[in-house]
Amino acid sequence: MSEATAGQRLTVRRNFEPGTPGARIIEWTRRNLFGSALNTLLTILVLALAALILPPLIRWGVTQATLHGTTRADCTGDGACWTFIRVRLPLFFYGRYPPSDYWRVDLVAILLVACCVPVLRERMTHRWLWVILLLTLFPALAAVLLWGGIFGLDYVDTTLWGGLMLDFIVAFVTVAGSLPLGILLALGRRSQLPIVRTLSMGYIELWRGVPLLTVLFISAVLVPLFLPQGVSVDRLLRAMAALVLFNAAYMAEVVRGGLQGVDHGQEEAAHTLGLHWWHVQAFVVLPQALRIAVPGIINTVVDLFKDTTLVTIIGLFDLLGAVEQALKDPAWLGFAKEGYAFAALIFFVCCYAMSAYGRSMERRLSRDQ
């Protein structure tokens, strides 16, 4: 009986895995595209839609597009005018930063990548050392390089900073500032001290209840009103401070999720060993909680990176602002599609890379458990 079943199963399996690759492809197609009447209909529908949309899109973006040349007159084809993007590339990446000092920005970018790679690599020895490096030495070096004014470097005012570089600077400062603040707020929200708990909760709920744009506007319009006369803070710094305070509330909720995932026994055991509350949190609870929270934190980072585009509305000059600026140039009117498609593409590449890393991290975490 059992032999017969095994034999049957064997023939069945042989049927599903035919030898030739061609037959395998046919089998895959049959199962995944034409499994049922509805399935076949859907396949035909999707293919028809693709046939409708893709050819004009490819014609516009690739086959009939122009990339060469330096002026508008070079764009003679019916398709996209990528010349516009190519000519304005420095503006999109560096904003109005002095061209002779582009190397300073490039150097900061190289340093950032050099610090980030060891931090992001799993199983890196002394990973925490790299994290500390990324959060202390790198910002100091980057500030010196970008601002200048010492060591013979020319001073470059923040009003000249712009383009994609500004998005990265704002995002980096926001993450570096909001994560520690968020951790404190998350601990505060779980605290047994009623005032601390209420204050943390009020802070988190307030920021999460209002649009980011109001917070940025407060930084731009209201903050000067609250400062003593004569004291003024750079517009960019104010915007970054607002983003830090705002995103700290979101970070706090993500970290709180991580804290809830740590077993109570851990904290109790550490207390029994006589550790002080701060030591329990810092050496026992947080390392485990942050590990769980990493995918959520990366999601928040992706969100806040996308949100850096909002600084254009308060008059800062990030990638989106640079694109809008370039579109207003009388010599290059009418290339809105190209401009925004380019901005979207750049953001897509950055965000997709980050979310893909987050997902792989999540998979690794769930496998470890």
Binding site: T43, I195, V196, V302
Partner: protein, 371 residues
């Protein structure tokens, strides 16, 4: 539970509170000094002053010269309109894409995945501006309007829909239809001789529609007259762009929520339902979706709140909502930074709190029905 906080830390928290109060007091006094230097006072009296700007899109009558208070009402309604439209569209689109993501068809599954990745990984602001500048503003002018089904027209000035003009009978019939429509969900839950009325309540909704149709005098189709379109209802391109941007962006997140919720329903539930002889459609509608809905509501709520908050991005395309008018025009004309910002934050907070209270109530209700 674990260990009581020590008296020292109990005392320290008062220090924290004192520090907070001190900072707030210091900032407040600085603001008072700065406002005093401009010979202005803090207060909301300006809401009764008359305005000198126009609001190009409104749901209630508005004229230049009406008060700032009325402008506030007009803008709140505009914000609520675009938020409500976006919530409905995002939910439907998200539900569709989320189910597509689970399709047995490889093509459908991956088209949905591509859509989600593309939308989720580009900034919302770029999307809204793209729809506005790169799509809607490149449409032809009124003379070359694109005809759409049911007599609608689309051109660079927006979407023109035919309007249903009320006749004389509408003044009595339409309110009755409205009341019937509101009553439908309540009648749904009533019982008649021990049996729940259920879907028979839909007869009321049908009656409401019939009354509404009887009330219509004629349909006003938009038509080209001179250089512009006359008749019908004009939906301005700013609203369409913001609506598209908000709902498409949120739909990608909702799709993932829907997918996760459906996957969270245990396999055994589906198998048990199938073995009881339910048809696949019944399995989905009677077993899987009701359970998935319960998982879905809390993350869905936070997406709805995101939509409401993001409606402030209307400022980028000049859709006359709360943020665009009050943080823009009103703030510049009255120079009342603190008051306008306070109003904005308070209104957004209250809309959000009301929405989340509503969703929590709904969440509790469906949780109870199931048990």
């Amino acid at each position: 539970m674990i260990r009581r906080p020590s008296p020292r830390s109990r005392a320290a928290q008062w220090l924290l509170l004192a520090a907070g109060v001190a900072v707030a007091w210091y900032l407040g006094s600085q603001a008072a000094v700065n406002i005093g230097r401009r010979h202005a006072t803090f207060g909301f009296g300006f809401l009764a002053d008359s305005t000198n700007f126009d609001i190009p899109f409104r749901l209630i009558p508005w004229e230049v010269g009406d008060t700032y208070g009325r402008a506030l009402l007009v803008c709140v309604l505009n914000t609520l309109l675009v938020s409500a439209l976006s919530i409905v569209a995002a939910t439907l689109l998200g539900l569709m894409v989320g189910i597509m993501r689970l399709s047995a068809n490889w093509l459908v599954r991956n088209v949905a995945l591509g859509f989600i990745e593309l939308v989720r990984n580009t900034p919302q602001l770029v999307q809204i501006i793209f729809w506005y500048v790169a799509v809607l503003q490149t449409l032809p002018g009124p003379r070359q309007s694109i005809p759409l089904p049911a007599g609608s027209l689309l051109n660079v000035r927006g979407l023109y829909l035919p309007s249903l003009e009320p006749g004389a009978a509408a003044t009595t019939l339409w309110p009755i239809a409205g009341i019937l429509l509101i009553a439908t969900p309540f009648v749904w839950r009533l019982t008649w001789r021990g049996l729940p009325l259920g879907s028979r309540a839909l007869l009321l909704a049908l009656l409401a529609i019939v009354l509404y149709v009887i009330g219509i005098d004629h349909i006003d189709y938009p038509q080209l007259r001179g250089f512009n379109i006359a008749g019908g209802i004009q939906v301005i391109p700013e609203l369409i762009a913001l609506w598209a941007g908000l709902s498409i962006y949120a739909s990608a997140f909702i799709a993932e929520i829907v997918r996760a919720a459906i996957l969270s329903v245990h396999k055994g539930q589906r198998e048990a339902a199938l073995s009881l002889g339910l048809r696949p459609r019944q399995v989905l509608s009677k077993v899987v979706l009701p359970q998935a809905l319960r998982v879905m509501i809390p993350p869905l709520t936070s997406q709805y709140l995101n939509i409401i908050k993001s409606s402030s991005l209307g400022a980028a395309v000049a859709y006359p909502e709360l943020f665009q008018i009050f943080a823009g025009t009103v703030l510049q004309q009255t120079a009342r930074e603190i008051e306008t910002m306070f109003l904005l934050m308070a209104i957004f907070l209250s809309i959000n709190l009301a929405t989340s209270a509503l969703m929590n109530w709904y969440n509790r209700r469906i949780a109870l029905v199931g048990r």
